[in-house]
Amino acid sequence: MSATGVARSHEQAGKTKAHSAQHRFFILCVAPSLAVLAIITLLPSLYLLVTSFTPLSLTRPETLWDFSQPFENYHQLWADERLHNSVWVQIKLSFWTVLLQLLIGLGLALLLNVKSRLLEALRTVFLIPMVLPPIVVAIIWKVIYTPDISPMHGVFKALGWNVPALITDPQWALTAIIIADTWEWFPFTMLMVLAALQMLPQELLDAAKVDGASPWQVTRHVTLPFIQGVLLVAGLFRLIDSIKAFPLIYILTDGGPGSLTEVTNYYSFLQAFNFSYLGFSSAITVALLAATLVLSWLIVRVVGWGVRVD
């Protein structure tokens, strides 16, 4: 090896050494945060997983460490028809709420992406449902859906329309929840899309216009690809949140009539806190968590993260 080669090799080794020292330093810096994260998120999740292998019931403390039939809860998941129904309800609720929130949020964001004082004020108004506490939202919709006191039913009555109580009508109960959930959360998508739209480089739009693109073509070929990643993130957030749907169902329908609005999350809650079957409820939650992770991964794989502009 020539002298230059040796020098280069030494230089390379020095760089590698410095790089690994830097890497160690970074790890050291991040370690406390990772430790805290592990304690507050991983440990409870691990405990949830462990509990799911026991028949833990609050009224029978001896069941806490009973691992004699570790897969019994998972076996029961297959046999529980009410759980299967709750998964189907969950799919319907998630599909419609995410779809509607994305469409309405996107539509309004495109309309409001104009510099005007009036529209800026309107943006703030549209954000109100999202910043209200979920229980308040549920109470607002409880009033709207209760015929005796509902202004909506009052109007229907005045028009001579006989509209049933939506939250107790089997044809309408889930739709009523979807409407309320969409109202509460479309501003989230709107806000994210608006932020993305304001970062859209003007040159791209100008270039498209120079090429003679119509407004629809600009939206279709420039704007939408640009905000695709944001839409995906918003959709994912909303999907995960829709799986956690709780206050609206708790206040408005209690999962009913029958089990028509009983989503998996709510069913898991009933098992744990109304019936004390914590082991079984943990198994449901573990399955739900796994399904959410797989679904999120699939969506990212299929849709991709969109265009990146540096």
Partner: protein, 447 residues
Amino acid sequence: MSTLRRRTILGSALGAPIAALAAPAVHAQGGKPYAGTTINGSCFQTTYFEYLKAYFPQFEEKTGIKVNFNMQAFPVYNQRTDLELSTRGSAIDVCNVTFIYSGRWIGAGWFTNLDTFTKDSKYTPADWAPEDFAGGPQSAMKNAKGETFGFSWEGGAMITSAARYDLIEKAGLGMPKTFDELIKVCDAVHNKENVAAFTADKLHHWNWIPYLMGSGGAVFKAPPENLTPTLNTPQAATSAEWYANLLMKYGPDGLLSYSDDQAMRSQMSGRANMRTQAITWSVPLAKHAESTVQKTVRFGLMPAGPAGNFPGSNSHGLGIPAGSKKKEAAWEFIKWALSKETIAMVVKEHGYPSVCRLSVIKSPEFKQVLTLNGQDVAALYLEVLELGGKTGYMKYRTVPVYPQVGDKINKAIERIATKQQGAADAMKQAQAEAVQDLQKAGFKVDL
């Protein structure tokens, strides 16, 4: 250092016998042995404790014990307390023993045996009289050995109330005494003057059971010994269909989502007429300042079915969680809150109707307070309590698995009422789910 040690040893040696001498009977002491103690109490939202809170300063003055008392909505209270009791935590010192959870909470050993207090004159004077509490409500507060874990502050006795009795009279009818008469009255008055004939809340596993039993059905084979569900019998299916029809045909729109309070308000505002429910939710129709039906309301016994009359009766009591570290102070609170004097005061000043001390129920003051529109409602109340206590038909409700089985009943009634399923199928499904739950909870079921 050595002086200190000597002092400590001498102090301990002298202090122990002196302390023993200075620990006379708590009630006889006349002092405030628990002064400075703060106890935490908890119950679901209820008028009794709303009224009682106003008198807490009297208790604090008398004992020096400070009381933090929280109330939550019924389901929220039960869920929180279930969790708290199961951990044997010491966050709560005195709390409500909820009727449908009583079997589970007492059976799991989560409450303190109060006999240790009542049988010891050091803690309880003889004139406090634990035997003065009505037997029916008290039975839910005891375990199989007859030991007491709570004292009832409320006895729920199901009666019939007709908010607009004038409409019934106008139709030439009276208070319904049988299921058939109930339907006849409903047919005659439904939607007259925009008033729905019947109303109810969504707790079907409480409201429907008297109709089920009246039709010859039952929830379990022989509770508490044999908890095999009997929800798939022909009687259960027929009765469930009958009840679902009662709700949907004669109830106001949206009734299936009604809470207790909503159902009561529908009567108070004159939008609905009859309801079969505990007296606590019925008396406000005559007493509440916001009631528009004070002059027209009438009360009657629960209608009887072909198999007899089984009005629901329940009770809620005050107990001391096993994990409490201030049990003596908590007992002082229970002693005061449920003393004859305190209960009589709440009855006299607020007209509270559902008390459980016989001496108060039989007093002229109680009768006077519960004479509503010329009717002796106190007599109705006592009659229901005695009915429930005599035959023990309410035992189904205090078994540890009732919350689970009750949920299946609620869902089945909703499915029938909204025509998602026929009655026989819905009850068959409820039966299968209840059996599954019982097996999950480790109970033997003979099928």
